[in-house]
C-alpha cells in the first residue's frame, strides 16, 4: 500500500514546531539528531499505519494542543497517603518549589536537561537508545519526536533497594498546552524502585520513559491517568530487562478523550519476569488504546499482559498486544488476556492479540473476550436482594480486579480499588 506523502510533510512540521534543544553534550546532541533522522525517515503516524488502524492519531499530531479547560476532580489525589518522594510537574514543567527535596538513599536523580548537558553521564547509554531499539519492527514515531524535543523529565539511577517510591505528579493549570516529558531510568544490579505517576498533565501530553533494568533488579510502575475528560495523551515506556530482573507496570485510565499508552518490553537476559497490566474505564467520548509489544530475546522468561476495559456511552477501547518469541528464547512462558465489558449498545472494543513465535519449546497463550455483563451473575445477585445497579457495579469491579491484582504493593492496589469504586459509584448517581 502506498505510504501517504503527508506522513513526511507532517513529520517535518512536527519537528519544526519545537526546536531541538541546543548547547547539550555531544552524546546528547547525537541522540537528538538520530531521533530527528528516525522520525524523518518513518514519517508521522497516520490512520493507515497498521498500528494506528484502531486509533486515529490526528489529534495527537494536530498543530495546536486542544484548548480545553481543566476540571478539578472531586476526589483526592491518587496515592497521596503513601510515603513517597513527590516530584511535581505543572503543565509538563518541573516545579521544584512544590516538590520534595531530591534526596533518597540508593538513588542519583537529576533533571533531564542537566543530565543531557553533562559530558560524561550514564544516561548516554539509555537516552534515545532504548527508544531506538523499540522502533523495530514497529515504528513509534511519536516516541522519536519526544526524544528529539523533550527538555523536561528526570534521569534516575538506582544503585540499591529504594523503599520510598518516587511519585511524578503531573498537575494541570493552563487550558491549552503541550507537555513533553522524557524520563530515563537505570537500575543497577539488584536495585529496586517503585515509580508512581499520577495526574492529568496537560491538554496534550507526550511522555516517554526509558527503563534499563540490570541483572537481578526490580522495577515497579503504577500509574493513574487523570479523570480530566478532554485531555489527550500519548505515552510510551521502553524497558530492557537483564537476567533475573523484574518489570511490573500497571496503568489505570479513567476517561480522557484520547489516550494511547505503549509499552515496549524486551528481555535481554534469561529468567526475567515482566507483567504489564491495565484497567480502563471509559464513558462517553473516550478512546483508549493500549499497545503492548513484548520481545522474548532470551530463554526462560515469563511475561504476562492483563488488560480490562469497561466501556459505556460510546467509549472505545483498543488493545493491541504482541508477544514476539525469538528462536533463542526457549521455554518462554507468555500469557496475554484482553477483555472488554460493554455496558451499553454504543461502545466498542477493538483488539488484536498477536503472537509471533520462532522457538518450538514455548508456551504462549492469548485470550480475548468481549461481551455485556453476565445476565446469570446479575440474576444471582439480584435474587439475593442486591439492587440491579449495585449488582452491576459489583460485577464491573470484579471484572477489572484481575488487572488490579497485578499490582504487588497492597497499599497502592487498595488505592486503585478505591478509585475504581468511586468511578462506578459516580456513574450510578
Amino acid at each position: 500500500m502506498a505510504v501517504p506523502a503527508q506522513k513526511f510533510e507532517l513529520a517535518a512540521h512536527l519537528l519544526a514546531a519545537r526546536p531541538v534543544p541546543s548547547g547539550e553534550a555531544a552524546w546528547a546532541t547525537a541522540a537528538r539528531a538520530a531521533a530527528v533522522e528516525r522520525l524523518t525517515r518513518m514519517g508521522a503516524p497516520h490512520r493507515r499505519d497498521e498500528y494506528f488502524k484502531f486509533t486515529d492519531p490526528a489529534a495527537l499530531v494536530a498543530p495546536e494542543a486542544p484548548a480545553v479547560s481543566h476540571v478539578a476532580p472531586d476526589e483526592k489525589a491518587a496515592f497521596a497517603d503513601s510515603d513517597q518522594l513527590r516530584l511535581v510537574f505543572v503543565d509538563g514543567v518541573f516545579a521544584p518549589e512544590r516538590s520534595d527535596a531530591v534526596a533518597l538513599e540508593g538513588l542519583e536523580i537529576q533533571p533531564l536537561g542537566e543530565a543531557l548537558r553533562t559530558d560524561i553521564h550514564w544516561a548516554r547509554e539509555v537516552f534515545g537508545k532504548l527508544e531506538e531499539r523499540g522502533q523495530d519492527p514497529v515504528h513509534r514515531p511519536l516516541a522519536a519526536l519526544n526524544t528529539a524535543q523533550a527538555t523536561q523529565g528526570f534521569a534516575i539511577r538506582v544503585t540499591g533497594v529504594v523503599r520510598r517510591p518516587i511519585a511524578f505528579v503531573y498537575e494541570r493549570s493552563a487550558d491549552a498546552v503541550d507537555a513533553v516529558v522524557h524520563h530515563v531510568v537505570r537500575l543497577e544490579e539488584k536495585a529496586d524502585l517503585t515509580l508512581i505517576e499520577t495526574g492529568a498533565a496537560a491538554s496534550r501530553f507526550s511522555g516517554v520513559t526509558e527503563v534499563d533494568v540490570a541483572d537481578g533488579a526490580g522495577f515497579h510502575h503504577v500509574r493513574t491517568q487523570g479523570r480530566d475528560h478532554e485531555r489527550l495523551a500519548f505515552t510510551a515506556m521502553f524497558a530492557r530487562l537483564g537476567e533475573k530482573s523484574t518489570f511490573k507496570s500497571f496503568t489505570l485510565t479513567a476517561n480522557g478523550r484520547l489516550t494511547r499508552n505503549e509499552q515496549i518490553v524486551e528481555f535481554a537476559g534469561a529468567e526475567g519476569v515482566a507483567h504489564v497490566a491495565g484497567a480502563c474505564l471509559g464513558d462517553g467520548d473516550f478512546h483508549h488504546d493500549d499497545t503492548i509489544f513484548v520481545t522474548h530475546g532470551a530463554p526462560d522468561c515469563e511475561s504476562r499482559q492483563v488488560f480490562k476495559k469497561v466501556l459505556r456511552n460510546g467509549a472505545v477501547g483498543v488493545f493491541q498486544g504482541k508477544i514476539l518469541v525469538r528462536s533463542i528464547a526457549q521455554r518462554t512462558d507468555g500469557y496475554q488476556i484482553s477483555q472488554g465489558l460493554l455496558l451499553d449498545e454504543d461502545s466498542q472494543f477493538l483488539t488484536k492479540p498477536e503472537l509471533e513465535i520462532y522457538a518450538d519449546d514455548v508456551k504462549c497463550s492469548h485470550g480475548s473476550t468481549c461481551g455485556a455483563v453476565d445476565e446469570t451473575a446479575l440474576f444471582y445477585l439480584t435474587s439475593r436482594g442486591i439492587p440491579r445497579g449495585e449488582a452491576t457495579d459489583l460485577l464491573v469491579l470484579a471484572f477489572v480486579d484481575e488487572a488490579v491484582q497485578e499490582i504487588e504493593d497492597e497499599g497502592l492496589a487498595a488505592d486503585v480499588r478505591e478509585r475504581l469504586a468511586g468511578w462506578v459509584a459516580r456513574r450510578r448517581r
Binding site: E50, G340, F349, K352, I357, D360, D361, G367, T369
Partner: protein, 507 residues
C-alpha cells in the same frame, strides 16, 4: 527431507504427529507433468490479452467490459505487503495468462470427446471423470463405507474446463453444475446477477487481477428447496509452464437448498514459481446451506524453496438470506506461498459461518491464512477452528478478523487457533483482529471453552470427562465429521491430518 531429519523434536510433541507431517511434507506425489500440446495467449498482460481471453470464451460484451474495467483498475493498484510472507517481486508481464490444450480448438461436446491424454492425467491423479461410484479403483477404498457415493466432477486444466460429469442426473434435480464459461453462455442472467456481487472487481489486488483475466472455474446453482443429490467437486490442475491459473468459482444456493462442494488442486514440479490467483464467491439465500471444502495441494517447491505455486486466493461467502449457513473447511498442505482468507459476510439474520482449517507448512513454505467473519445481521453466529503446523524452515500465520457490527445484536463468535512448531527454525504466528461494536454479542478468542455447543459439552462431562477433554472431543469430532464427508481421494489424506494432535502447541 534432509532438513527434517536433523531436527530433534522436543518432548511433549506427539510422535505420530511428527510422522504424519513428515509424510505430508515428503515427496510430492503429483509433481509429474503431462505432455499436452498447448496453445498460449501471448506472454504478458494488457487490454488485448483481456479481450483475447474474453473472445476465446465467447463472452458477451458486458463481461468483456467488466473485465476491462477490472484490468484498468488493477494497473493502478499495488501488491499488498501486509502478509507475513516474503518472496521476490513477481513480474506480472512475464506470465502467460491463458493456456489451453490444442485439442480444445473446437470445444468437445462431452468428456467422451476429450483427448485421452488429458483424461489419463486425471486418472493418474485418482480423479474419477467417468460417471462411476467413486469407490472403484480409488486408493484407500477398502476403508470406505460399503455403499459408495456419487461425486460430480468438473476438471479444470490450465485455463479451460474439460467438462463436468453427472450433468443429466443433476439437471433432473434442477441443479446447474458447469464451467463458468459455459454458464456465461447458457445462464447469462444468473451469472450477471451474481458475478462480482460478493467479491467486487474493486476488492483487492489479486481479486481485481482475477476479474480481468479469469479463464475458467465452476458454476453451481441450486434451486429453491433442492438438496443437491450428490457432492460436487472441481479438480484444478496447472500443467503448462510459466502460466498462471486464474479460476473463478461462483456458487449460488437458493432459498432452502443445500450443496456440498469440494475442491482439489495440484501442479507439476517445476523450478519456476507459478501464480495462482483464484476468486470464489458463494451466495447463500434464506435457509440455504453451503459446505465448501478444499484440499489444497499445489506444488510447494523443493526443500530449498525452489519452485512452487504462489497461491493468492480470495474466497468469500455472502450469507445473504436469513438463517443461511456456510461452512469452509480447508486442508492446506501445498503452495510455496499461501495468502488465503475464506470469509463469511453474515448479512442475513440468524445466519452462521464456520471455518475449519488445518494448515501444514514444511521446508521453505510460507502460509498466511485465516478467515474473516463479518457479523452484520442479528443473532449471527460464527465459529473458527484453526490448526497451524510448521516444520523445517516454514512460516505459518493465522490471520483472522471477527467483526460485530453495531446492528449485529445477539451475535456469537468462538475462535480457537492452535499452532505447533516442529523444530526451532520455523515460525508460528497469530494475528487476530477482533472488533466488537455492540454489547449483546459475545466474542471469545481462545479464552474460555464455554461456547462450544453446550449440550454436547454437558453430555461429555456427564460421562466423566473434564472440560478440556470434552472440548477437544467436540471440536475434533466436528472436524473429523466434515473431513469424512470429503470424497475418498481427499479423505484418506485429510483424515490422517485430523489425527494430528496439537499437544505441546506453542500458542
Amino acid at each position: 527431507m534432509a532438513a527434517f531429519d536433523e531436527i530433534t523434536v522436543r518432548e511433549g510433541v506427539d510422535q505420530e504427529t511428527v510422522e504424519t507431517v513428515r509424510s505430508v511434507g515428503g515427496r510430492y506425489k503429483y509433481g509429474f507433468s503431462s505432455d499436452i500440446e498447448t496453445e498460449y495467449a501471448p506472454k504478458g498482460l494488457n487490454e488485448d490479452i483481456v479481450r483475447l481471453i474474453s473472445e476465446k470464451n465467447g463472452e458477451p460484451e458486458w463481461l468483456t467490459d467488466w473485465r476491462l474495467a477490472a484490468y484498468r483498475r488493477w494497473t493502478g493498484l499495488e501488491e499488498p505487503s501486509w502478509a507475513m510472507v516474503h518472496y521476490p517481486k513477481i513480474d506480472f508481464q512475464d506470465q502467460y495468462y491463458y493456456a489451453r490444450p490444442k485439442s480444445f480448438a473446437t470445444r468437445p461436446k462431452s468428456l467422451d470427446e476429450v483427448d485421452p491424454e488429458l483424461l489419463r492425467t486425471y486418472e493418474k491423479l485418482g480423479i474419477p471423470l467417468r460417471e462411476q461410484m467413486i469407490l472403484a479403483g480409488v486408493e484407500g477404498a477398502e476403508d470406505a463405507p460399503a455403499e459408495g457415493r456419487k461425486v460430480a466432477v468438473d476438471a479444470v486444466f490450465d485455463s479451460v474446463s474439460l467438462g463436468t460429469t453427472f450433468k443429466e442426473e443433476l439437471a433432473r434435480a434442477g441443479v446447474i453444475f458447469c464451467s463458468i464459461s459455459e454458464a456465461v453462455r447458457e445462464h447469462p442472467e444468473l451469472v450477471r446477477k451474481y458475478l462480482g456481487s460478493v467479491v467486487p472487481i474493486t476488492d483487492n489486488f489479486y481479486a481485481t487481477l482475477n476479474s480481468a483475466v479469469f479463464s475458467d472455474g465452476s458454476f453451481v446453482y441450486v434451486p429453491p428447496g433442492v438438496r443437491c443429490p450428490m457432492e460436487l467437486s472441481t479438480y484444478f490442475r496447472i500443467n503448462a509452464e510459466n502460466t498462471g491459473q486464474f479460476e473463478r468459482t461462483l456458487i449460488i444456493a437458493d432459498k432452502g437448498s443445500y450443496v456440498s462442494y469440494l475442491e482439489g488442486c495440484t501442479a507439476p514440479q517445476r523450478d519456476e514459481h507459478q501464480l495462482h490467483a483464484a476468486v470464489v464467491e458463494l451466495v447463500a439465500l434464506d435457509d440455504a446451506e453451503i459446505k465448501y471444502s478444499t484440499v489444497q495441494n499445489w506444488y510447494p517447491g523443493d526443500e530449498e524453496g525452489k519452485g512452487g505455486i504462489y497461491n493468492f486466493v480470495t474466497k468469500r461467502a455472502d450469507c445473504r438470506g436469513a438463517r443461511s449457513k456456510v461452512m469452509w473447511t480447508q486442508v492446506e498442505t501445498g503452495s510455496a506461498i499461501t495468502w488465503k482468507y475464506p470469509s463469511c459476510i453474515l448479512r442475513g439474520d440468524g445466519s452462521s459461518g464456520e471455518f475449519y482449517s488445518i494448515a501444514i507448512a514444511n521446508n521453505r513454505q510460507q502460509a498466511d491464512t485465516g478467515t474473516k467473519m463479518v457479523h452484520l445481521g442479528k443473532n449471527t453466529r460464527s465459529r473458527i477452528v484453526s490448526k497451524g503446523i510448521s516444520a523445517g524452515f516454514a512460516q505459518n500465520t493465522y490471520r483472522g478478523l471477527v467483526s460485530m457490527h453495531p446492528r449485529a445484536t445477539g451475535g456469537r463468535n468462538y475462535t480457537q487457533c492452535d499452532s505447533l512448531l516442529i523444530g526451532d527454525k520455523c515460525g508460528a504466528h497469530t494475528v487476530p483482529y477482533i472488533e466488537v461494536k455492540n454489547n449483546s454479542s459475545r466474542v471469545e478468542h481462545e479464552a474460555t471453552t464455554s461456547k462450544v455447543d453446550d449440550d454436547q459439552l454437558f453430555y461429555c462431562r456427564s460421562r466423566g470427562m473434564d472440560e478440556e477433554e470434552a472440548v477437544a472431543l467436540v471440536v475434533n469430532g466436528f472436524c473429523r465429521e466434515v473431513l469424512q464427508a470429503l470424497p475418498m481421494e481427499f479423505a484418506m489424506e485429510a483424515q490422517k491430518l485430523v489425527a494430528i494432535s496439537l499437544e505441546g502447541s506453542v500458542g
